[in-house]
């Protein structure tokens, strides 16, 4: 009964059709391996890079959540600098828009970690189980010892890669050598295990099982990139005119072995070998035109080029082109208002960010007047105002400071025993200051003055001045 119903309405849920991408050699594949090697090198080795620092934190890239500081080589990022993160995110977004406008989904095909990790997982799969036909055969095989061994090994290696991915991520958030020791002796913080485990699980599932479904169903970028995309953007496309001829594609059978004979017969250059379809990691046929699943990985170009080379026919049956080129035969325009607009915004963000980072203050001071009470009369008739001073030494060395006032007649500064203090490296501190002056010297309710912090024996730092207000009755 249920079956009948199923038959009639079709299935409500659709199983994924397994994809067994064939390997391919070629210029784009080489480029992609190069990018992958570089990205993995950076990701896995960066936490181990040591860096000389005055504060003793000697990890080149360290996100110290407990100490609330991010160390990036010679830059230390403090919580106050968090707006840089906003700048960085904007930069990333506009860079993506810009690149998409010019070159379509290059990010997807070459740089996206989903693509990079899937590539590695497919490589593992191929090394253990063999090339595409072998893998298809294995998947159809009964669960015998060979299948259990091969599939088991594949998954085990996948999990290993996934685990090292998760573990490496965790190493950015603590001192790597110390943390890795703690990790395996079960002394690391709970968050380290939770994060590592979570990333292991997601890597294993996403790169091992979900693969192209992430791009097709889950990735927001794959959905909204069409907004940046136009007929001048770079796409991977099949030259249908050349491939199909008048009568369509045809296998290189008898009498159809040379281009001349094929032209006579009216068939195109595509020999329908299917190589471009077999290498596609998203399982589509590029010859059906541009499809949402296509991540522009260019492997089908490598595949078809290989075939064309072996036939000694010109390359480019499947190639990078643009919609304009395909439909109008004109070259794509590079400088379009949209692309220029993205570029302009991008430059503004880059400039602002670079300026802000290079002008980071080495010392922070804020002064706020105590408002309750605004002022008190002292026994000698003078008026006293109190201030709360917050300071932050962002340098990696001790900072000796002397405090003084400027611009308030007859003023006396009382900071208890802290008129001169030493701030340890990266120390934050709150102090109370009391300022006294005689009301006869000050006419009117409020008077601005300058609060001065003078670094002692530090030529690299300028005097720090902050405006404040003194209130009289």
């Amino acid at each position: 009964m249920e079956n009948e119903q199923d038959q009639a309405v079709g299935h409500l849920y659709e199983a994924r059709k397994s994809i067994f991408p064939r390997s391919v050699k070629g210029r784009f594949r080489d480029l992609k391996w190069g990018i992958l090697a570089f990205a993995y090198g950076v990701y896995f080795l960066l936490p181990w890079l040591r860096w000389e620092r005055d504060t003793g934190r000697d990890q080149a890239v360290l996100f110290d959540l407990v100490g609330r500081k991010f160390y990036l080589f010679d830059l230390t990022v403090y919580p106050q600098d968090i707006f840089w993160l906003a700048g960085l995110l904007m930069l990333a977004a506009y860079l993506l828009f810009f690149v998409t406008g010019i070159a379509g989904r290059v990010f997807c095909g070459y740089f996206c970690f989903q693509t990079l990790w899937t590539d590695v997982f497919v490589l593992v799969e191929r090394l253990v189980q063999g090339e595409r036909p072998a893998r298809i055969r294995l998947s159809k095989q009964k669960w015998d010892a060979e299948k259990i061994f091969k599939i088991g090994t594949t998954h085990l290696l996948w999990m290993l890669v996934a685990f090292f991915t998760g573990l490496s991520f965790v190493l950015y958030w603590g001192d790597a050598p110390q943390l890795i020791g703690d990790f395996f002796t079960l002394q690391a913080p709970f968050a380290a295990y939770a994060t590592a485990l979570f990333l292991t699980a997601t890597t294993y599932v996403m790169a091992g099982h979900a693969r192209e479904q992430v791009c097709t169903y889950m990735c927001p970028y794959s959905r909204f990139q069409s907004a940046m995309f136009d007929s001048d953007s770079l796409i991977v496309s099949y030259d249908a005119k050349r491939g199909e001829g008048d009568k369509g594609r045809a296998r290189a059978g008898r009498n159809l072995k040379t281009r001349e004979t094929r032209t006579e017969a009216g068939v195109g250059d595509c020999i329908d070998c299917g190589y471009c379809v077999q290498v596609c990691p998203t399982g589509i046929d590029i010859r059906n035109g541009l499809q949402i699943q296509c991540i522009s990985c260019a492997l089908c170009i490598d595949a078809c080029d290989t075939i064309m080379d072996s036939l000694e026919w010109p390359r480019g049956l499947v190639a990078y082109t643009s919609e304009r080129q395909v439909s109008e035969g004109k070259r794509a325009r590079l400088l379009r208002p949209k692309v220029l607009g993205y570029f302009a915004v991008l430059m503004v963000i880059v400039t602002a960010l670079v300026w802000s980072v290079s002008h980071q203050q080495k010392f922070d001071m804020t002064i706020s007047q105590v408002r309750q009470p605004l002022f008190v009369t002292l026994s000698d008739g003078r008026i006293q105002n109190s201030y709360e001073i917050k300071m932050n030494n962002k340098t990696g060395a001790n900072l000796m400071l002397a405090f003084s006032l400027d611009g308030l007649p007859g003023a006396e500064l009382d900071m208890g025993k802290f008129q001169a203090i030493i701030l340890a490296p990266e120390q934050r501190l709150r102090l109370t200051a009391r300022v006294r002056s005689h009301p006869d010297l000050l006419v009117g309710g409020s008077h601005s003055f300058v609060f001065r912090a003078t670094p002692i024996k530090r030529d690299d730092l300028q005097e720090f001045m902050q405006n404040a207000v003194f209130t009289t009755p």
């Binding site: 079709g10 059709k17 046929d285 309750q372 026994s379 006293q384 109190s386 009382d414 109370t432």
Partner: protein
């Protein structure tokens, strides 16, 4: 981008099999399997959650969660183990959490240090200030005001502790003594012994020694009362009028007025009237003792805080 779907190529698009108006059909675009698996996974997760955590209400109680307890110390210092709940989790966190442990270490350091050491250490001082601020707001602000000074309308009811006039002394030892044991501020009412004229003379004298312009003949007569047996004011306020800390007697020569609202008076006669009123009616102010309510470490923190308010002595 065009939206061809591989699965739809070659074979016709699936329909649900329904037809309306003869030929109106509905496409069936199946949900991907992984999606439905994820959905099942959340259901399984919630089943586990129901077992482990407090979830379902029944009758007038609820399921407490199996094998999931939490242990913390209650107010009486006893170890309590109960089913897992966020309130206990908070209590536990306040006792043994990262921040709590840090705070404890600081408190111990402050406890072990002398006042002198703390006042010379910016770090400890910053900690003491931020801790004491809360204690002050909870216990002291009701009378002394949140900033240690009172609003105009409440002038004289309680001393202003944000200025530098210390009735009972402004050293840390004296402030600690004041907070721990409380104080009784008392000045007898002279209204019975002195008539209005003498009160007027006395008031003129008192205003005079703190630099106000007064009628000199009245002030001279007032001085006699102040320094003589009739008033006997010198007994507590001192012959020079600078007060006596052991009695909490105010310094009359400085610019600070703690009971008579001289700063609030504009005209000369109002100032005289304000001082007269105080001499006539006397003063009786109590500060309760705090040792029964606050712990030693809290009093220590408060002492530092109050000391810093006006700049101590």
């Amino acid at each position: 981008m065009s939206d061809n779907n591989t699965q739809q190529q070659g074979n016709a698009v699936q329909t649900t099999g329904h037809a309306w108006d003869g030929d109106l059909q509905e496409f069936n675009n199946p949900l991907p399997r992984w999606w439905i698996w994820t959905f099942y996974a959340t259901i399984i997760f919630s089943l586990g959650y129901w077992i482990i955590y407090p979830t379902w209400p029944y009758a007038n109680t609820f399921t407490k969660g199996v094998g999931n307890t939490i242990t913390f110390q209650n107010d009486a210092g006893e170890e309590v183990t109960t089913h897992w709940n966020t309130r206990s989790l908070l209590i536990k966190d306040m006792q043994t959490g990262e921040e709590a442990t840090k705070q404890k270490a600081y408190l111990e350091k402050v406890n072990a240090a002398s006042y002198e050491e703390i006042l010379s250490d910016p770090d400890m001082m910053a900690f003491a200030n931020s801790m004491a601020k809360v204690v002050f707001a909870d216990n002291c602000a009701a009378c002394h005001g949140p900033g240690g000074d009172l609003p105009e309308q409440a002038f004289g009811l309680y001393p202003n502790i944000a200025d530098d006039a210390w009735l009972w002394g402004g050293t840390t030892a004296e402030i600690e003594q004041t907070i721990t044991h409380g104080r009784n501020g008392y000045m007898p009412a002279f209204g019975k012994n002195l008539d209005d004229e003498k009160l007027e003379q006395l008031a003129n004298y008192v205003l005079g020694i703190s630099g106000h312009s007064v009628e000199t003949d009245k002030a001279a007569a007032g001085e006699k009362i102040f320094q003589g047996q009739e008033g006997g004011c010198y007994y507590c306020h001192g012959a020079d009028g600078t007060g006596l800390k052991s009695q909490g007697a105010a310094n009359l020569t400085d610019a600070v007025w703690t009971v008579a609202n001289v700063p609030g008076a504009v005209k000369e006669e109002d100032k005289v009237a304000a001082v007269k009123r105080v001499i006539k009616n006397g003063v009786s102010r109590q500060m309760p003792l705090w040792k029964s309510r606050l712990g030693e470490e809290q009093i220590k923190l408060l002492t530092l805080y109050v000391h810093e308010l006006g700049g101590g002595k």
